[in-house]
């Protein structure tokens, strides 16, 4: 609410003014000297990894990996100097960039979610990398297919993949043992999953077999997308003109969720999705999650293991990847070229491998995953992550790369939430959502 805003907003204003004044000064002096050739070109890179030592006093290896690599690059004589800017959660990277663009204060490189690419492609000054990624030695095809697709808007490449994740089952081995349930295998079907979730649920202990975010955000939707693909369905028609998720396959996937959430009540439904699910899993209150490699570090108190997604009859282990991107802006004075120069070093196989071994990120380059011995080494250092790296193979589809994707995601999210809260039947909810999506697609 508003009341207490005044003081805070004045303070923020002052900080913003000072910040603007400072960056303004730096930029002009740097670009002034850059053209003389003596001093390196200074470029700014926005990231969301935080500080090397986090607020709990733990080492944040994601931040450490990034900062170490950039420091090493800055120490080399390349003519480019990179300044890192921590801008808070990546969830807000698009909003922050939007605001920065109003004042022409955009960075040279910024971390962004892959799903924002169609919007970003229209931003003024964004670098079209279509020709550059074909450079000798850059080896663009080495990035996974799903990630390359997400970086490409209407045939033009606007980003370099920064991170790739996927979803798999993470389960609490202790709870399986206590309930006498067999642990998940690669042959598991969703029926097995559902039965296990039911067996692991114990209302007297407030223990749930499964947990699902129902805030209606993209987090809700991509969990459903994976199941939709496993059942053999699709989000949109091949030419992205019609909704396809209200097919029999889509209904099958949503019915599984409905039965677990409404009939079996074996699912902890997280309406807010601000970390409760991870806390509860780590507290031993949830048997299985469908989540990604980033979450594993949140479970120090639980003996967990990882398994690929269950199948439907005749379906696949399909999973979904959430590729994140490095987006570049050409801010003149040779800074665009400098940004490209840095990024081609930063995303080369050697650096990708190093980053993976420090931060636990899945390698964004296939050649690193396929390097003999890499997977063993990786899984030893980060238990469970080896499976996620192998699971990249099961990433065969990407979400549609179209401007209206966020709208489609919102509409699908609303349908999934409605069904899981027991307020609608799968077929009716999906048909209603499909009608809305078709309207959006027809409207351009």
């Amino acid at each position: 609410m508003r009341r207490r805003r005044t003081a805070a907003s004045v303070l923020l204003t002052m900080v913003a003014l000072i910040a603007v004044a400072c960056t303004g000064g730096n930029e002009s002096s740097d670009t002034g000297t850059a053209s003389t050739g003596g001093e390196p070109v200074d470029i700014t890179m926005w990231h969301g990894y935080g500080k090397v030592i986090d607020n709990q006093g733990q080492t944040n290896f994601e931040a450490k990996s990034l900062i170490d690599l950039v420091d090493r690059y800055n120490a080399m004589d390349t003519g480019v100097h990179v300044t890192l800017d921590y801008i808070g959660s990546n969830d807000h990277a698009l909003e922050k960039l939007t605001v920065a663009l109003q004042g022409d204060l955009q960075p040279d490189i910024t971390y962004q979610y892959g799903t924002s690419m169609p919007q970003l492609a229209t931003a003024p000054g964004i670098m079209d990398l279509t020709d550059r990624v074909q450079d000798q030695g850059f080896n663009w095809d080495d990035f996974s297919e799903g990630a390359r697709a997400a970086a490409t808007v209407d045939g033009q490449v606007f980003a370099i993949p920064a991170l790739i994740d996927n979803l798999a089952i993470v389960y609490n081995k202790g709870l399986f043992k206590a309930a006498g349930v067999d642990e998940p295998t690669p042959d598991w079907t969703w029926d097995d999953f559902q039965a296990a979730a039911k067996a692991l649920t114990d209302p007297s202990e407030q223990q749930y077999g499964f947990a699902f975010p129902i805030d209606g955000s993209e987090d809700t939707v991509w969990h459903y997308d994976a199941m939709l693909w496993e059942a053999g369905g699709d989000i949109l028609s091949a030419d992205n003109t019609q909704a396809a998720f209200n097919s029999a396959e889509g209904v099958e996937a949503l019915t599984t969720l409905q039965e677990m959430a409404v009939t079996d009540t074996s699912v902890f439904l997280d309406q807010q999705n601000v970390g409760k699910i991870d806390e509860l899993f780590n507290a031993g209150k949830i048997g299985m999650l469908v989540t990604g490699p980033w979450a594993l570090s949140s479970y120090p108190s639980v003996d967990y293991s990882v398994q690929v997604m269950p199948m439907y009859d005749g379906g696949s282990h399909a999973t979904i990847a959430g590729p994140d991107m490095w987006v570049m802006f050409d801010n003149g004075d040779g800074r665009g070229d400098a940004a490209w120069k840095f990024m081609s070093w930063f995303t080369a196989a050697q650096q990708v491998k190093e980053d993976s071994m420090t931060s636990g990120h899945l390698p964004i380059r296939n050649s690193v995953v396929q390097e003999p011995g890499f997977l063993d080494e990786f899984d030893t250092k980060f238990p469970g992550e080896g499976l996620f790296a192998e699971n990249l193979e099961n990433v065969t589809k990407a979400r549609p790369v179209i401007t209206s994707y966020d709208q489609i995601s919102r509409i699908m999210g609303e349908a999934v939430v409605k069904v899981m809260l027991g307020q609608a039947e799968p077929q009716a909810a999906l048909d209603d959502a499909a009608a809305q999506v078709n309207e959006v697609l027809a409207g351009g």
Partner: protein
């Protein structure tokens, strides 16, 4: 005064006189504040209006003017209507509850009791706690499975309630949380008003044989009128502008039941959930919201001046 432009003798004289005048000194003193207000209030207000006439995305420089089309679209937007309904519901829950409870608390804290300063501090502390901290706390207090609220109510044989998770319960839960968070502010205003009630009047009523209740009803309550008017206006404006708690705690859900106007405007302008070029439409909604608040406030003052006869 007539100063000829460029006059060699006139200009220095004018400058000296102007610099020496009190007006200039005054303006210099307020200049930093005026500059900040202009930059961060007046400019955005004007820019927002221009934006409301455009079909605009904040990301793209391509912003065609569409006249008042954005305003015309509002009436046929079911989500705007839903946000308005939610907002009215919330305001009806929040304003009367917080005013009644805070008046009661202020009267209690105006008694001569031991540790009264401690109690006053305790009542005010939630106001000083950040909204996000309050949100995190209530997420757990009102957790349907693990929350202390359901546990305590369960002991009394009630519930379990879904709180933020249930479509019907989410808005009342938000209201409880915000009433708790802002009660201290209202209480302080009432406390100040109560301490301004002249003791002679209370004494005179006692001499005339009035009971405590009729003293309160006929002496104290009317004298609290101006404070009540202030709080009603103030709380209504805050309630209509509800955002932080919704953004953090419910994200407008479940099923849009807590989607309030400012939150909807935020999603339109800064996310792409409702289409790519919605920033202009969002600005139009923001302007309508401003007019609604202005109208509400004027109506409340007009009504208040008819009901409130005492000024403190």
């Amino acid at each position: 005064m007539a100063v000829v432009a460029g006059s060699p003798r006139g200009a220095p004289g004018f400058a000296r006189r102007a610099l020496g005048s009190d007006h200039v000194a005054g303006w210099l003193f307020v200049l930093p504040a005026v500059g900040l207000v202009a930059l961060f209030s007046i400019f955005p207000i004007a820019w927002g209006f221009v934006l409301s006439l455009q079909e605009a995305s904040l990301l793209s420089p391509d912003r065609p003017f569409v006249g008042f089309q954005n305003y015309a679209d509002i009436a046929s937007d079911p989500r705007a209507v839903q946000a308005a309904v939610n907002s009215v519901y919330y305001t009806c829950l929040f304003v009367p509850t917080s005013i009644v409870i805070s008046m009661f608390l202020a009267i209690a804290l105006n008694q001569r009791i031991r540790l009264v300063r401690f109690y006053r501090l305790a009542v005010f502390i939630p106001v000083a706690v950040s909204t996000i901290a309050t949100g995190v706390m209530f997420l757990w207090v009102f957790d349907a499975n693990f929350g202390i609220a359901n546990w305590a109510l369960g002991k009394a044989g009630l519930g379990p309630f879904g709180w933020f998770n249930s479509p019907e319960g989410a808005m009342p839960s938000l209201a409880i949380m915000t009433v708790w968070g802002w009660l201290g502010f209202d209480t302080i205003i009432y406390l100040a008003a109560l301490q301004g009630v002249p003791y002679e009047l209370v004494e005179a009523a006692a001499v005339d044989g009035a009971t405590r209740w009729s003293t309160f009803r006929n002496v104290t309550l009317p004298l609290l009128g101006p404070a009540t008017l202030l709080l009603v206006v103030w709380s209504t404006i805050s309630a209509v502008q509800l955002f932080d708690e919704v953004y953090f705690v419910t994200r407008g859900g479940p099923l849009g039941r807590t989607s309030v106007p400012v939150f909807y405007i935020y999603r339109l302008a800064f996310t792409n959930a409702f289409g790519f070029s919605a920033a202009g439409y969002a600005a139009a909604l923001a302007y309508v919201l401003f007019l609604v608040i202005l109208g509400l406030t004027l109506a409340q003052f007009w009504l208040g001046n008819r009901v409130v006869h005492y000024s403190s």
